[in-house]
């Protein structure tokens, strides 16, 4: 079967990344992260570093793209890297261009994060909410509603450990996985064959 080979994608051991997901560019995925089929992680204008324990669901789009007024060929533009912390959840259909995302955040379905937003920890961006302001969202903020109202929550959302464990067990039964690739080690394929 033709597997989309992406030599610059670094998938740590223990991450579950489905073959049907699209990973382009310089992307690092930490262990215990689950990437569903049809999720898209595109590193156009710089690398993307995803921590561990994240859950990226179907049709989610994490993209490090060029800002609107800068053409790809402009010189002197430094590639900015996008960092995503641990235990985040990117629900179905969300779009995230935020360059910095902390830990334990939940980005609900069809939410839209702009490039200049900085999510700290424990934030919940509600379904269909568009956040494209240029600001740092304080910890434990919940953004919800059609007017994107905000309020503070006293506790942070629980890490989805149960769901992660379940998915890590079940997804390989139904999908082919992208093999874990480390830059320094020998290709994993040979190791798999010998087992």
């Amino acid at each position: 079967q033709a597997q989309k080979t992406n030599p610059s994608a670094k998938i740590a051991a223990g991450a579950v990344v489905c073959v049907e997901s699209e990973i382009r560019g310089d992307v690092t995925i930490g262990p215990r992260t689950v990437v569903h089929p049809k999720a898209r992680i595109i590193a156009e204008a710089g690398p993307i570093i995803i921590g561990e324990g994240n859950l990226i669901e179907e049709q989610a789009l994490i993209i490090n793209s060029y800002p609107e007024n800068i053409m790809p060929d402009t010189e002197g533009v430094e590639p900015k890297s996008m960092t995503i912390g641990i235990n985040n959840v990117f629900e179905v259909g969300c779009v995230s261009q935020a360059l910095q995302i902390g830990d334990n955040n939940v980005i609900e379905s069809k939410a839209d994060l702009g490039r200049n937003v900085v999510l700290t920890s424990g934030c919940i961006v509600g379904a269909c909410c568009q956040v494209n302001t240029c600001e740092v969202i304080p910890e434990n903020t919940v953004i919800y509603g059609s007017n994107s109202m905000r309020r503070l929550q006293t506790e942070r959302p629980q890490p989805q450990t149960l769901q992660l464990d379940f998915l890590m067990k079940i997804l390989p039964n139904y999908h082919h996985m992208k093999k874990a690739v480390k830059v320094t080690s020998t290709p994993v394929r040979n190791q798999a064959v010998t087992h």
């Binding site: 919940i124 509600g126 919940v142 919800y144 109202m149 905000r150 309020r151 503070l152 959302p157």
Partner: protein
Amino acid sequence: MSQRWVELRRREMASLLQPERVLYLVHGEKKIRSPLSQLYFCRYCSELRSLECVSHEVDSHYCPSCLENMPSAEAKLKKNRCANCFDCPCCMHTLSTRATNIPAPLPDDPTKTAMKKAYYLACGFCRWTSRDGALWGKAINKLIEYYQQLAQREKLERDRKKLARRRPFMPLAFSQHTIHVVEKYGLGTRLQRTRPGAPITSLAGLSLKEGEDQKEINIEPAQALDEVEPLPEDCYTRPINLPEGTTLRQRLLQPDFQPAGASQLHPKHKHLLIKRSLRCRKCEHNLSKPEFNPTSIKFKIQLVAVSYIPEVRIMSIPNLRFQKESQVLLTLTNPVENITHVTLVACEEGDPEDINSTAKVMVPIKELVLAGKDAAAEYDELAEPQDFQDDPDVVAFRKSNKIGFFIKVVPQREGLGDVTVSFKIRHDFRNLAAPIRPSEEGDASTEAIWLTHHVELNLGPLAP
């Protein structure tokens, strides 16, 4: 052709189906123009009725989340709130119960801790939990008790007056039966509607039991103060923390306390909804009566206008130009099962109902014949083709109980603003509700009466 043009054209076509484009005029206390889908038809008076010319009556109370029916007396007692369901004070969504395990000391042995289940309420939409809110005190109960007492006292006085001066020509409103009905159904009859200054009867039911001594509750009237606390010094300089405060809507949903801080929000019991029935004011027949079961959306009686009156819809509009004649394609649908004859008549000069039209219209002169609605026709392959001689200049197409026909429109007003035309549609209506009178000729079929409706169409703006 760009994609944008395609999108605009598609949106324009979809908007033609919007019901507000075609309005029917209702002759009631007020002249109301409304789409046919929102009107009712009283087949005893043979007239269109809108929501404003019918009387609305409460049928039953139910909770929208647990769908529990509640008798009206119980609903009044519980202040129209469900006992089991709660609303999020933050976003007014329904709260769901969740459980956590918390370590709690066992009652027998305080040194050991065991995992106990603690329940809390959580909102799925804004993620508010009941652990965020604070416990509240009983601030307003004193006022409520006072008013209850007042209402009880007034009711006793009225009853005493009734029994003392019972006269035979007492108006119907004060008979025992009507009072009983009023108490059962709240403000059902028109005679008992609250007039300002009248004694409050609604709270009278929630009262102390007989025999209990009525405590005199003294309420301190609110006193106006001369001196007010000065504002804090940093009132102007302190940065505003928006998520910490409550919005006006959140605050007013809890009128007892009106919490200013978000941490003081407390869940409220869910408000009950009602099922209502509609009654024609002239003939007192029911126009709409829903079923009692909250899970059922059907009606016991449903006399809606779309199932009796032929409906006009706009199918396509060409580019309209000032003082140039264009042809607009309309469709006419027959909702009843027998053949309907429809005549269209343009409004005359100086017609008092014709106030909105901004264009001249030429309607087909001939009578249009609509076939009956045959529910089985779509399944019947061998259906006989309908044999109507249609003038191709007038009738564009015919499909079971629907025809498309042309009208000619000449816009009379230039500039911004929509082109509106109006005409009268006259059709025959067979009244199946009327009792069959034994006629002398032995004619069993019901007679048809001719109804006329004034219809207004909004054809959109002039082409640029």
